[in-house]
Symmetry: C2
Subunit: 296 residues, 2 copies
Amino acid sequence: MTQAPLFQRLALLGCGLIGSSIARAAKARGGIASEIVANARSPKSLARIAELGIADRVEADPAEAVRGADCVILCAPVGAYAALATAIAPHLAPGAILSDVGSTKQSVIRDVGPLVPAGVHFVPAHPLAGTEHSGPDAGFATLFEGRWCLLTPPPGTDPASVARIESLWRGMGSMVSVMEPAHHDRVLAIVSHLPHLIAFTICGTADDLADETRQQVLQFAASGFRDFTRIAASDPEMWRDVFLNNREALLEMLARFTEDAQAMAKAVRWGDAAYIEDKIERGRKIRRSLIEINQA
Amino acid sequence: MTQAPLFQRLALLGCGLIGSSIARAAKARGGIASEIVANARSPKSLARIAELGIADRVEADPAEAVRGADCVILCAPVGAYAALATAIAPHLAPGAILSDVGSTKQSVIRDVGPLVPAGVHFVPAHPLAGTEHSGPDAGFATLFEGRWCLLTPPPGTDPASVARIESLWRGMGSMVSVMEPAHHDRVLAIVSHLPHLIAFTICGTADDLADETRQQVLQFAASGFRDFTRIAASDPEMWRDVFLNNREALLEMLARFTEDAQAMAKAVRWGDAAYIEDKIERGRKIRRSLIEINQA
């Protein structure tokens, strides 16, 4: 006799890299959901999800998709959450858990929180996993294995619901940590959002160079720039929404970074070798710390 | 009967990642040099090179190392070139080729060019290859395969010597292109030097955050930051010298990048979604161009 699955019906609203990976992981692992219902905004994505067979059912209407689901996960760009939550709120089953996978957590609590009906449990989550690819074809069942998923439940959230979302992510192979939403947004601003903003920006800076140089930039892209372009290949709509919804933390981290870059520029201009070497050594130190805690 | 090797005696001054990879590649491929002489600044490196057996002979004195060599390659950080060239100049064999592997080319021509004796052919070169590791143990025989090596011979350089250095790099599996030194320095400033400066800087910015956040930065380093720390693990002395010796192009590219980052910050602050999306799309476009020309 097998154990009852964690959820009877899991509804995924949005089925790109992350949503389709949840569907695949839940199918592959078993014990997570008896039925998976997938919704996507575009008819093309809906058709592709049906074709891939990664969900038990495909629904064009989010309100239909969440009907009778005991777990609903928002997997669209965070800028679409308010409209999605408005559309589904009246149709959420009593006792259901509403979660998400967005990269910004204060904005999600601000946009979705007030729309959650009484008796529905709202447990915001953010899996720190992804690739530079997007769309239903980009997902894979092992995406979350060994990666962190951060939960940011607002004060007063039902602990049993938090525990079930934790079980969901652990069931897909993730490590789980609970974090205060504002702190999450600051940490993610420096580890993820600012690096992406920088990567997008430097690609534009290179693209603005005179024609001959731009051609050679592409031809001779050494490892540094090539790594940046890989990061910069990520989904534009998702990242646009992340930047706009983590504005304050992102601008603060960018301001700190810019001050530090200007200090480095000054050292380069004035030939301050000791300053430059010290900053480079700090980079190595951070790299070593990262390796030590098995994140590298 | 085998063909005569390209060089009778190849002297490598500096034997870190690049120098030791040349030694290994030349040994592994054959047809490149009958004898390889390696020199390094530190007794520890010298001992390690002897232990690894990647050179036929190890010489502590650069003047001794270049004696009778028909090809001498400077493989030390570019800031050490002037002193090295001064030490070896009187001992270079007539007709020998003097080359290098430095990441900045105008500075090399400025520092080394005037010291090259009449009858010695100076052919500056820069292999666009490397990893974030350094030292004699970091090298490997296939490092240059499929990578570009850029030659920046000053006007009037002996074409036969340029052709031999081209053969050397092609013999180790590289593609070779000739470029004007100032143009090289501008292109490398944006594809390599600025990305490294940014990576070193953002690691410092993260390291300056309050204790609790810094711990979580390390714990939850998502892909963006982790990629930056990999770049930032590179050799401090080498990169310090690169920054100081490509000052003007690097500062210009950093200024352009900073303007673009500030424009992005303004768009984030004022919620200009179209601007942000357009910049991200440009990043993707550059990535696609890179993939199309097989550099990704």
